[in-house]
């Protein structure tokens, strides 16, 4: 926990203010909503794993203002993201872009499920071919115990 907490403290220390300030906000609630949603996907560069929407750092504030400026200028969300990655690199996007370096990251979950399902399939296939019945695995003593339990049950019923 300490790492996260330390980083949070660092963030809180840099600028003891709340994340989005009223003075930053756009007048048009629709545009402001867009700005908020976009901000949640942009990383605060001086923080640890925080979006600029949540961060109190000065830089995050600058970036929030920048995004709102671009929105007012009529840029689309994609254009704003392009603008930010051109300046700060992919690091600024909390949702990493799909490209050769991140293929493993993005495809791994699906590949793992498929591989796992394949493994399960092989397991059933081999067991079916193995064809042994469950009682073959019991020792003589266990067979006897099984019989006893079943008899007890029948007696009780």
């Amino acid at each position: 926990m300490r790492g996260a907490i330390l980083s949070l403290v660092l963030i809180l220390l840099t600028a003891p203010a709340l994340a989005v300030e009223p003075k930053e906000m756009l007048d048009d609630p629709k545009l402001e909503q867009r700005a908020r949603e976009l901000s949640a996907e942009i990383r605060c560069l001086v923080c640890q794993n925080q979006s600029i929407d949540e961060s109190n750092a000065g830089l995050a504030e600058d970036m929030r203002l920048l995004i709102r400026e671009r929105i007012k200028a009529g840029d689309s969300n994609a254009e704003i993201k392009d603008y930010l990655t051109a300046r700060y690199g992919d690091f600024v996007l909390l949702k990493p872009p799909m490209k050769p370096e991140t293929y493993i990251l993005w495809y791994a979950p699906a590949v793992l499920v498929v591989l796992g399902a394949f493994g399960v399939g092989v397991y059933f296939w081999r067991r079916r071919r193995g064809g042994a019945s469950a009682s073959d695995h019991l020792s003589a003593a266990e067979q006897q115990r099984l019989r006893k339990i079943l008899e007890e049950r029948d007696g009780a019923a």
């Binding site: 709340l18 640890q48 794993n49 690091f91 499920v113 399960v120 695995h137």
Partner: protein, 670 residues
């Protein structure tokens, strides 16, 4: 003097652990009863020694002994007593002492109460447990000594991080660690079983209570941490997919899978090697979690490089523990004989699906957490993997699992009738369809995950209720009194499953609903002004300065009304801690069944005006209520007489092949 005593006790504990790691294992290989029997007293002595060290450190904190570096760095004489005590584990060195204390505690419990364990299994398990202790004690003594003195002693301490001075966080680490370290016993049992070459239903019964216990604490620990983030960090988020959160979530996911696969081993004698692997992985992920948090590698690769001692040591420990146990697994697991057969459509099959998806989810979280590190280390540039990635990958893995979870408990062991099970769920289909339609109408084009989340939560809750009602014989002969009697007579494990699965449904409603319908108002307010948030009127009544024991605060007053009726008073604070000068926000929260009223006060603007953040967070408290239900379910399961009395002898334990159609039948076996 007491401090040196504590330090010395740690050194003695190291030597005790060394003896406990070597001799009983040797004794078990060579069948020397004396050596094997040594494990029991050694475990107890080790616990006593580490307890002495822990209490010595606590004494230094309670008496504010500023000749101890650790106390200087993390305490202050003005700090309230609760946080002097919790300060012991609120830092790197102290938290490690707590870690090994819990490790030794679990070892000693197995030593003392595991009388009916086969002597070789017991000796080997305790020996592996001691081996883990050796690693961590060496780590502490060489790189993280909590008893280091400082000369000349300063007049006062530097105080504990104010964010940690909170009741929630005082108890969060002990819970989380009990969860993490609880998996150590399961790990030790697994490694011991690999060395023994025998895994059977009796083994699964010894292991299951430990898995349950660890899982319950981990669930509570994670929930507590998330709750703390919710009320303390000031913007009301409850999960950030932060690497540190992920570090505790991965063992939880694998532990949940283990909990379920161990049932299959116990009841059907199947999935043995897989269960052993999960046991190894659950603890390995706990170790990786400790490594991620403690080495500083997360903050940046550079922090790791500038102070490499700790990082390299833990990395070595990881390689030995995880690599060693996996090698042993690769070598020995193929010799374990598989047991009961089952068809793909069966209770076992459903549990395999559960395991598949939970493991894939855990792997996804692991990859997402470590990817930036690896990519940077390999010179591939810097990327961020944040919440949008995890939401896009994790949620799609969980949705089919929830869908299957509704059906699984209705399937019979060995071979099941899927059509029959689905037809018993008619009511659940109807409820789900209705919820789906209503949500689809409300959220058209807004959030597909929102619609699915709510519909699946309804599906799960109804399916759980149907399964429970069927088992009580609702609708059959006899009135409500008979049904109630049957419900009371049900094994605790069955209650546990119902509660935990229902808790998950509650949790899902909370997660989905709070994200979908939150209302927020960020603005500057003057005294007397009113803001409308989510159908409530929040009136700002003004703010004042107050003095706390070690902080000063600005405290705002809000009254919340709805339709003219006073609903709640909210008094959020903004604290400035005197020693460190750090500020924290103390949100004011009033929980109502359908949602939380949430207020935060910010900076003072001109005159008496303040920046404020006001929220209405619908059903958010359901998240933690659901988690609590899951943990209570775990405790119910843990108290099942099968596991209590059942601490079984090998001879007496039912083996695979004895068909047990449901939990209900298991009871008679005892």
């Amino acid at each position: 003097m007491i401090v040196e005593l504590g330090h010395f006790a740690l050194v003695l504990a190291l030597f005790t652990a060394l003896i406990q790691a070597v001799l009983p294992m040797w004794g078990a290989q060579r069948r020397i009863p004396g050596f094997m029997a040594l494990a029991t007293p050694a475990s107890v002595v080790q616990l006593a020694l580490i307890a002495v060290a822990f209490l010595a450190l606590m004494h230094a904190y309670v008496t504010s002994d500023f000749t101890v570096l650790n106390v200087v760095q993390n305490s202050h004489s003005l700090k309230p007593m609760l946080y002097k005590i919790s300060g012991v584990w609120g830092n790197h060195e102290g938290s490690l002492v707590l870690w090994v204390l819990i490790l030794a505690l679990f070892g000693a419990i197995v030593a003392v109460f595991g009388r009916n364990l086969p002597p070789t299994l017991k000796a080997r398990t305790l020996s592996v447990q001691a081996l883990i202790a050796v690693g961590f004690l060496l780590f502490m003594l060489f790189t993280s000594n909590p008893f280091e003195r400082v000369f000349p002693p300063p007049a006062n301490g530097q105080d504990l991080n104010p964010l940690l001075q909170d009741p929630g966080l005082a108890f969060h680490p002990p819970m989380l660690y009990t969860g993490y370290v609880g998996f150590s016993i399961v790990f030790s049992f697994a490694v011991a079983a690999l060395i023994e070459g025998r895994v059977d239903a009796a083994w699964a019964r010894w292991v299951r209570p430990w898995t349950l216990l660890a899982w319950v604490f981990l669930t509570l620990g994670i929930a507590l941490g998330s709750w703390w983030a919710y009320y303390e960090l000031g913007w009301g988020g409850w999960w950030y997919w932060d690497p540190v959160e992920n570090a505790s979530f991965m063992p939880w996911l694998v532990g949940t899978a283990l909990l379920h696969s161990a049932i299959v081993v116990e009841k059907r004698d199947a999935l043995k090697t897989w269960t052993i692997l999960l046991a190894i992985l659950a603890f390995s992920l706990s170790l990786i979690g400790t490594f991620l948090v403690r080495s500083g590698v997360l903050t940046s690769v550079h922090a790791f490089a500038t102070d490499p001692d700790r990082g390299v040591f833990i990395l070595g420990l990881l390689i030995v523990a995880i690599g060693g146990s996996l090698l042993l697994y690769a070598w020995r697991a193929p010799t374990l004989k598989g047991g009961g057969l089952f068809a793909p459509i069966s209770r076992e099959g459903a549990l395999v699906l559960n395991n598949l998806l939970l493991s894939a989810a855990a792997a996804t979280v692991l990859i997402g957490t470590l990817y930036p590190l690896f990519l940077e280390a390999l010179g591939g540039g810097k990327v961020s993997v944040g919440p949008p990635y995890f939401n896009a990958t994790f949620i799609p893995l969980m949705l089919p699992m929830i869908a299957a979870l509704g059906v699984g408990p209705l399937l019979a062991w060995k071979r099941a009738d899927l059509k029959g099970a689905l037809s018993r769920l008619k009511l659940a289909f109807v409820v789900t369809a209705v919820v789906f339609a209503v949500m689809g109408y409300l959220l058209w084009g807004r959030s597909i995950f929102g619609v699915l989340g709510m519909a699946l939560a309804a599906w799960l809750a109804t399916a759980v209720a149907i399964e429970f009602a069927e088992r009580c014989g609702v609708g059959k002969r006899g009135g409500p009194a008979t049904w109630l009697k049957r419900a009371r007579g049900m094994p605790r494990a069955a209650w546990g499953m119902t509660l935990a699965h229902f808790g998950l449904a509650v949790c899902m409603v909370g997660m989905t609903g709070s994200a979908l319908w939150q209302s927020e108002e960020i603005r500057v307010m003057r005294p007397g002004e009113t803001a409308q948030v989510g159908g409530y009127s929040y009136t700002f009544e003004g703010a004042e300065q107050v003095e706390g024991p070690n902080y000063t605060a600005t405290r705002g007053h809000f009254t919340v009304t709805s339709g003219g009726d006073l609903i709640a008073n909210l008094d959020p604070e903004r604290r400035r801690y005197v020693v460190s000068g750090r500020e924290t926000t103390e949100a004011a929260i009033v929980t109502r069944p359908l949602g939380d009223l949430f207020a935060v006060i910010g900076e003072q603007q001109s005159g008496q005006a303040f920046t404020v953040r006001l929220y209405f967070k619908p059903v958010v408290s359901w998240i933690w209520s659901g988690a609590l239900l899951m943990a209570i379910g775990g405790l119910f399961s843990l108290s099942d007489r099968r596991l209590r009395v059942g601490a079984p002898t090998r001879r007496g334990a039912p083996r695979g092949g004895v068909a047990q159609p449901s939990f209900g039948a298991a009871r008679r076996e005892d």
